[in-house]
Subunit: 179 residues, 4 copies
């Protein structure tokens, strides 16, 4: 299963989505097509699983940061969050850009990372905000968007660290006005 998803990733990076056929997946994974269908009902499920796997990896990072900064000020936790997410995406920007742009998302089932962030932050932000609802709407969007941008779309002249720092400033600025 992991092997299959890894095969998809390899094909995706080497030749693009259009080269991702079930037969090629099997070949690259070193199994037979039949075996691919033992684990996934159809091709769509493979893409879903790929997105899910990524979401879970990011989710684990989020949980870890939340747990590790349970007592600390929200700003610190968020800085850690941004840090972890940016690093994770920066490890293979090409892949994550591809995942976003080319691999179909089946609209609606998504926003997994934002949702996860929202849930994870609910507790951490509860005491801070007069209107939790609105804060929990904005912060995950900022974290997700800025982390992606920092890792994948920052200007050529800006370092990863500088981008992280600026992302942190933006989120902190918002949190401050949400007293």
């Amino acid at each position: 299963m992991e092997a299959i998803l890894d095969a998809v990733v390899r094909i995706l990076k080497r030749q693009g989505v259009d080269a991702v056929t079930t037969n090629r997946i099997a070949e690259v994974a070193g199994v037979s097509v039949g075996s691919v269908y033992q684990y996934f009902p159809d091709k769509g499920a493979i893409f879903v699983a790929l997105h899910d796997r990524h979401a879970e990896q990011m989710g684990r990072l989020v949980d870890k940061a939340v747990v590790e900064h349970a007592g600390a000020p929200a700003e610190e936790m968020i800085a850690a969050l941004v840090d972890a997410l940016v690093d994770a995406h920066a490890r293979d920007p090409e892949l994550f850009a591809l995942l976003d742009a080319e691999v179909p998302h089946r609209a609606g089932g998504e926003r997994a990372l934002e949702t996860h962030l929202r849930n994870a932050l609910r507790l951490a932000l509860a005491p801070r905000s007069r209107d939790l609802e609105r804060t929990l709407f904005v912060v995950p969007v900022l974290v997700d968007a800025l982390a992606h941008a920092a890792a994948l779309h920052r200007p050529a002249r800006m370092s990863l660290e500088a981008a992280k720092r600026e992302a942190g400033r933006a989120i902190r600025a918002y949190l401050r006005v949400t007293s």
Copy 2:
């Protein structure tokens, strides 16, 4: 050409990406397949054109807001920007979610809206910021992400207006710390 893109949109909304075949496009557009190929070299080009058209429409909105608030404070201009973009996307959220999730983007050629915003804001923000580079990195990301979120992914209990307002607050907060 417009008719063809409109046909794609219609099929997309009614039956999803997989139903978008060149023959069906022709049928829905009321022309022959051959004519579709008179205007587009292949199916991929149709999707590209669809994304481009959307980007241009948003670009025009951006330009309009920038021009109309040329003398006004940046905050106001940005509020107008968010307003216009949110309204534009809110007019047909389903479509824009689809466009984002299912219609392949050909990774890399993208971020059109952010880029346009960046260029449009360069002048408006020039006097404000000590480090224009970083501001021009963050603001377009915030505008784009919050506008999309407000229009397409806001919590069920939050009104469009409330989402816009909150988006505005977040961006304003960042601009304030970027003296």
Copy 3:
């Protein structure tokens, strides 16, 4: 009409039969598709006309040789015939090989050159042969096959002149046994 056939020849040589489309013919000939259809009922007719034109050109060569050697011994006439045909084909071997191999012949309507040769030789050979029928069967076949072979398929080490001479010897040898 000539222009159209010339266009076909040009495309044929530059890009092969598969590139010969009616639209491309029109383009290369410098007219519109509609005009092509003014002169030819359909695409097949163009190929037929091409073969016919070639057959007529060869036919004229045959007639000329026959007329010019009307009084001379048959051997001489045949030598002239082979000479003329070989030269004609050797002028553009590539084209004639293409014409033979790739341009569909519509089986059965063919053997135009052999038939023409047969008719042209009927008189010249009449006095020589006890069985004209058989001679008129063999000689055109020899002339056609050897002329083509000499012009288009002779071994790399053999000169055109040598090939012609050898072709002549073969035909003469046959004529001699056909007293």
Copy 4:
């Protein structure tokens, strides 16, 4: 594979080249289109294989005649050659005419029969000729052309046997002058 080529032959004879579509081939061969593509990379390859198969069949006949008349005079061997080739083509003249006229040859890769003949005859003719090169150029051309003509294009009034005999005479006459 044999089944596929046989299907092509069947369609060719019944409905002509234009009816030879990959789907129809599959249908007539009793397999699926997919299976056709398991054995042949594309449609062109099928035609090539068809020509190749024919060339091999003829080649086997040539080899057999050469072997069986290894010690005998060259005249006899050639008579046997002509005999075998004429009979082979006469068994289904229509098909071989079609193969020649309508099935594209991909110019240049061809003359397979002549080449085979040339190689087969090299040994047999070696002692006879002062100039082997020229003899090996002419004889295969004569054998091929006369065998085809006898089988496929002889005058209506001439029997197969008579045509064979006359072909033999022509070749023998040439061999005699090539002492």
